[in-house]
């Protein structure tokens, strides 16, 4: 920045260069800022704006001028929050999240620890196999599992059938939650495992040597050294998993044709989609989506704050 040795001949071009250098970062940032404004900032503001509006129908509702947009205060919000369909979908997603996030991260942590353990064999093969589902989009994994759940196709039904046992359909109302949760766990474990495993590999091996000298077992090293060190990674993956869980849409939408128990308002996002694009009620759909977004923020920041002192406090 402070180059002092400047020959006299560059003296004339220096102010120009300096201006260019001052403008350069903005030039580099301009495509990102433009796209950010158009596809993130504006849509958010527009959503919030619409959530306070509604369409008023005058007369018989015929003709182009009979519908006018008016302010609606918090009515859309009140309506959404009192809607039993919405509340039911929120409850479902809550249970779904409690099933998916701990199971997925628990398995991811377990597999990552096993991959990092020198006593485990077949590590390369397992790492690739467990990571593989990340390459399969949610729609296609739902499709694959959906068929595997069908009584005519499923290997489990085949085995149970041979044994003469009666098994309830996975698409029945009680079990469909597990059926959808299993797809999310299957698809997400590998990615989170890689995140945690990468953090584990960054631990200097001197730490283990010291622990071994003190007579610590491999299990003890895992519990007392490895897990505490990777806690920040686990927290970040938890937050991202929670955000993804609240927005579950592709899996149940794909399974819907195979199961009668999945309604068109099975998750909050499915309800937003139905309200906006099937019923054409964009205003209440906007209010519902703002509620979901706020809930996501509150949950993820609340969770971060809750664990922050414990996880990051000891590092600094």
């Amino acid at each position: 920045m402070t180059t002092t040795t400047s020959p006299p001949r560059t003296g004339t071009t220096r102010p120009a260069r300096r201006t260019r250098r001052r403008l350069a970062p903005w030039a580099f940032l301009s495509p990102a800022i433009a796209l950010f404004v158009v596809f993130l900032a504006l849509p958010i503001l527009y959503s919030v704006y619409m959530s306070f509006r509604t369409e008023q129908v005058s007369g018989l509702g015929l003709g182009a001028d009979s519908r006018t947009e008016v302010w609606n205060g918090f009515s859309n919000y009140a309506q959404s929050l009192a809607d039993p369909e919405f509340l039911a979908s929120v409850g479902r997603v809550g249970i779904y999240g409690l099933l998916v996030v701990p199971t997925m991260l628990g398995l991811a942590l377990l597999f990552a620890l096993l991959l990092d353990s020198r006593r485990t064999r077949a590590r390369g093969f397992s790492r690739i196999s467990i990571f593989l589902p990340y390459a399969v989009p949610a729609v296609i994994s739902s499709l694959l599992w959906g068929f595997l759940y069908l009584p005519g196709v499923s290997p489990f039904y085949y085995v149970f059938d041979q044994l003469g046992w009666d098994v309830p359909s996975l698409f029945s109302s009680d079990l469909v939650m597990f059926a959808v949760a299993n797809i999310a766990v299957w698809g997400g474990t590998g990615f989170n495992m890689v995140v945690i495993y990468t953090a584990l590999k960054a631990i200097p091996s001197e730490l283990y040597e010291a622990a071994e000298l003190d007579g610590c077992t491999q299990k003890g090293i895992a519990l007392r050294i490895k897990i505490p060190i990777v806690v920040p990674s686990i927290i970040m993956t938890s937050v991202f998993s929670m955000i993804a869980t609240l927005q579950v849409f592709a899996e149940p939408t794909t399974l819907k044709p195979l199961s009668n128990t999945i309604s068109s308002t099975w998750t909050p996002l499915m309800k937003v989609y139905r309200d906006a694009f099937v019923r054409g009620d964009l205003y209440s759909a906007a209010a519902t989506s703002v509620i979901i977004a706020l809930a996501t923020f509150v949950l993820s920041f609340g969770f971060l704050r809750l664990v922050q002192s414990r996880a990051f406090g000891q590092e600094k």
């Binding site: 800022i33 504006l42 849509p43 959503s47 949610a138 991202f240 906006a276």
Partner: protein
Amino acid sequence: MTTHAPTSAPRAGSRPAASSGTRRPTSPRPGRKADRGVGERPSAVSTGILLLGAAYCLLPVLWVVVASTKSGGELFSTFTFAPSTHLLDNVGDLNAYRDGLFWRWMLNTAIYAGVGAALSVIVSAMAGYALAKYRFRGKTVVFNLLLAGVLVPGVVLAIPQYLLLAQIGLTNTYWSVLLPSIISPYGIYLARIYAAASVPDEIVEAARTDGASEARTFAAIAVPMMLPGLVTVFLFQFVAIWNNFMLPYIMLGDDKLFPLTVGLSGLLNQGASQPALYTLVITGALLSIIPLVGLFLLLQRFWQVDLAAGGVKA
């Protein structure tokens, strides 16, 4: 994988005193020194658990390979994992379905994910470089705003993005899926970290002293240094676009523009009334995961993600 080798290899060879001091069990395979476990007894339990996990993850993939060899009747009558001989018939049927609509979906997916991710990398690299290598007023504000975008749930965006694009007549076009996919707050965040870590200030300063323009310094000097990280940004965005079901589902009405995910989901929906379509769905699912799985295996080393540290080690 690669990070182990340099640390463990010299340790095993050059410091015999240390290893004799620690009470280590007998070393059954001294040849396997590259592993961190020099002479550790393999554990059947942990290997077993890990293989069980691998089996769980491979099960549906294995099934789709087997199922795509079955005819429509066999799908529901023979044992799940009993293969048959109809793979080519099924691929032929899929080929013939509405004049090869499936391949159109495949091409569309490649365009959305490939072009979208490539553009996203360019935008992210420029923004990340600017945020890492310049000092200017408003930098913190810009960075924090972009970062907040990481946490914005897609749900608030879906409806207004549709309405905004509808106003300029872009819904139901390639642009309606491509344009919103280019901006990636997470990609910018990663690119900033790569730029900060891999492009030394001295080299940027030297290029300037030599008279290179700011754009040239970026393109010819910074980008090659950031390249391994940018591959990771590309992969992330590729998977994110390819995985995003809701955006194309909302934006597109014409099934010639569908990506594979929306197309196959629609086909499954029709299958509820025409079970003959099920074999098409299954064969389509197999063909659509092959390219991506291949890409993953090929680019494996770029997937070492360290979310907490914010960086990716490639």
